[in-house]
Symmetry: none
């Protein structure tokens, strides 16, 4: 934290940087770092800067908890031995939430080459350090211009709408049968169970959002590898909303299934269920849902064609069409951005 | 966790499945996953399903604790990059114990081949969540046939007999007993062995210096805690030289012993030996040596007095005096720095 | 990496900052972060900045390897939940070595208080990325003043002298020498100590049975590898009973020794002792015992012959015969199962 060292009076919005070397356990067998490892680092940087901001005034002490991640694109894969630099900055605050924008750079320390591998936007809500059910007020951010504030407000309203919609939508029930026929939905669907331990948790003893995202990416990666049996990497993650807190000692069930395939990409839906082992037996609720897009890479790093998903039921067909819709929208947005940049 | 998702009223005996990809750190240098990694996953699945079962009725909340594992065979090795699927099922319950049977399958996700690698039987006892000394009653299992129950009862009686026998048998003492006289050098000396895995290494596949230092501090901390039986913290580390490279797959032996105690501090020498397990038998060389200074902290954070080290041999006496010399030099240097700063 | 982000032409000596939140597993039971965790972060930051510097000119690619750490003082303890900020800067270069100075700050993100917890000086040597035996030339550093360079040179000469002295000094041998005759029991026997941390425990804060089994297998594997110096894998584990609960913060001692060898397998006994470090001095009890069977695998996956265990004492002979008995029983049981299946 340079600015912390440089200045005796660190400003509220001093950026946070989290860096570390990518090790063999961070990567798949082809040497590509799992998207989940990056998502976890992004969330840690976000949690640090937003918690720091929320405690920058003399008020109630609070811990910032992840409420939402906006859609995230993985621009280029990170490799073992590279250094991942994650820098986070606060870009908007509402009364009860903080927007953090994060940039991830991969640095090859042997040849000095650096490149941006990800950009992400996260929303945090501060909960009282003493009472996890109480939301604390966020100190206002100093904006450099009225336009900056106005644009932040628009992003805030948009995510608020999307969040409340996702809360109402009934979470989809994933698990049907295992199918032995390759390229079907049943063939590649996968799930894992994880017992939430102390190192997975925040100071409040609730599951850290970044840990959830890492597990989700792990399941999505297994589904993708089962479907196309090649070296696969995360290309993007759709917006994820965290509606429910998951406490230490819970068992979570993370399930994924293939929804849609295009020529060069596949979309996997991942659902997290919580099983509060020690509580009432019925309590089992969908907690988090997300769509992961994966691509398959050949030895030279170019995208390989993806086997088409075999649709067997009406429900699968409906989901496939919804997936196609999201795919076309994302494509249009990318084209739009490029057009905008070129103007 | 299929059935948990399918039904809103999960039956008591719904199987549990834990899956994860085998990572480089899970395996030895030949790529075979350590049996211990599999045993750990088996036990986690068993603990989840038996804890869930014991809390399936409205009674006292409890946590299931492992009491026994039956003989386990490893049928075929698991490899890095494969997915291990561990599925657990409850097969018998007595008044106070639960029998869980676990099957482990290895799946090569690139070619879709699956095979059974292990089967295991575990026995759990539920202890109250509030009072770890109180055993809680187990809800009865629904059996599909009287024969199933009868066979379970036989297994239960057999393991009960074996358990009580093993309790009576005096455990064999394996190693040269350490000095039992408190405060002697022999009393607190400690050592650990560590297998150098992929994540411990640099890009050259040699042990990272920082990992060595972390292990050295771990041993020094155990020596210090054994000596003074209080909360101890590292106060300083003397200069450390790294003369020798240690390669991936080596076994290192990290040993520590108390050298010197002053009123408020203690000095521990730590030595790292390299054991090139798979190479020539003679090769075992001291690689790194360092002196760690620890202090003991009371609840208010102030330094507590340290019990004086009991010296028993001429060699220990010589080392104690050398330690005192280093202690006095460090003290003089600190005083010098303070004086310098105040000028 | 702020300066990397800010500037398109990062200077050679751009500082490196590594930050992360301190988690329960980083600390002892009193909540103080282990010095070793900090030392590991310090070294990672040093390795990144010196590797980057050594590759900053168009020359041979190299990886910087730690050669020496100067004496390090821990000024105040770091606590769980704080953020550790480690910033590293290059302060001197000789022809073949790099001096890095590191500052560690602890930040309490709830109240914003920051303080310096450590300062350290490390020396790195760049080794060729292609040939680990070849030292590469270090690009010269730009100094801000001749005094800065002169002081660096003095530090360089001082550490060089100390390094060469320490190389000549014979390292002290600490521990009871093991039997040097290959294939004896004493030759391969091994033990490790492990501090029971939060992630090793159940919700009750007692050591999880699966973690114990993993450590036991780790020791058994080292005994087996020391005995036969080949790729070894776990073939089976005899029944294990868990009679005693082991609480968080305990130190356990896991010891293994070779008991029996047949043509193609070897049996290792593993004993777990509990050392309630912070409690009564006498309390040290055997907690768990088990017999592990290992086989040795050739490159094609077939079982290799095992060197016969050399028996030296009556006790070893008795144990060897008991091991043979278990071996024959297991063999008979396997044959019986096969016969049964074929009927």
């Amino acid at each position: 934290m340079e600015c912390a060292v440089r200045s005796r009076h660190p400003t509220v919005n001093c950026p946070v940087a989290v860096s570390r070397i990518m090790r063999p356990d961070d990567a798949n067998i082809a040497g590509n770092v799992h998207g989940g490892t990056i998502l976890k680092m992004i969330e840690e940087a976000g949690a640090i800067i937003s918690t720091r901001h929320c405690n920058s005034q003399n008020g109630e002490r609070s811990v910032a908890v992840l409420a939402r991640v906006e859609r995230t694109d993985f621009l280029t894969p990170m490799l073992i031995g590279e250094v991942a630099h994650v820098s986070a900055e606060i870009t908007y605050t509402s009364k009860h939430s903080v927007e953090v924008q994060v940039t991830v750079m991969g640095e090859n320390i042997l040849n000095g080459v650096k490149r941006v591998t990800n950009r992400a936007t996260l929303w945090y809500v501060p909960l009282s350090a003493d009472n996890v059910h109480s939301v604390v007020k966020v100190p206002p951010l100093q904006y450099s211009s009225p336009e900056q504030e106005e644009e932040g407000r628009k992003r805030y309203e948009a995510q608020k709408l999307n969040r409340s919609e996702s809360k109402q939508r009934n979470a989809t029930i994933i698990f049907p049968t295992i199918n032995v026929e390759p390229c079907t939905v049943g063939y590649s669907q996968s799930s894992l169970i994880h017992l939430v331990g102390p190192s997975d948790c925040t100071l409040h003893n609730f599951l850290q959002g970044g840990v959830t995202m890492k597990l989700m990416d792990e399941v999505a990666g297994i589904v993708a590898a089962r479907h196309c049996k090649t070296n696969i990497v995360t290309a993007s993650v759709d917006a994820i909303n965290f509606h429910q807190k998951i406490e230490k000692g819970s068992v979570i069930n993370v399930s994924g299934r293939m929804i849609f395939t295009s020529n060069k990409s596949m979309e996997i839906e991942v659902v997290v269920d919580v099983d509060h082992v020690l509580k009432s037996p019925q309590e089992s609720a969908h907690s988090v849902t997300a769509f992961f897009t994966y691509v398959s890479l050949g030895k030279d790093g170019t995208a390989l064609p993806i086997p088409t998903l075999k649709i067997e039921t009406e429900d699968e067909k409906k989901r496939f069409e919804e997936g196609r819709e999201r795919y076309l929208q994302a494509k249009a947005r990318r084209t739009g951005e490029v057009t905008k940049k070129c103007q």
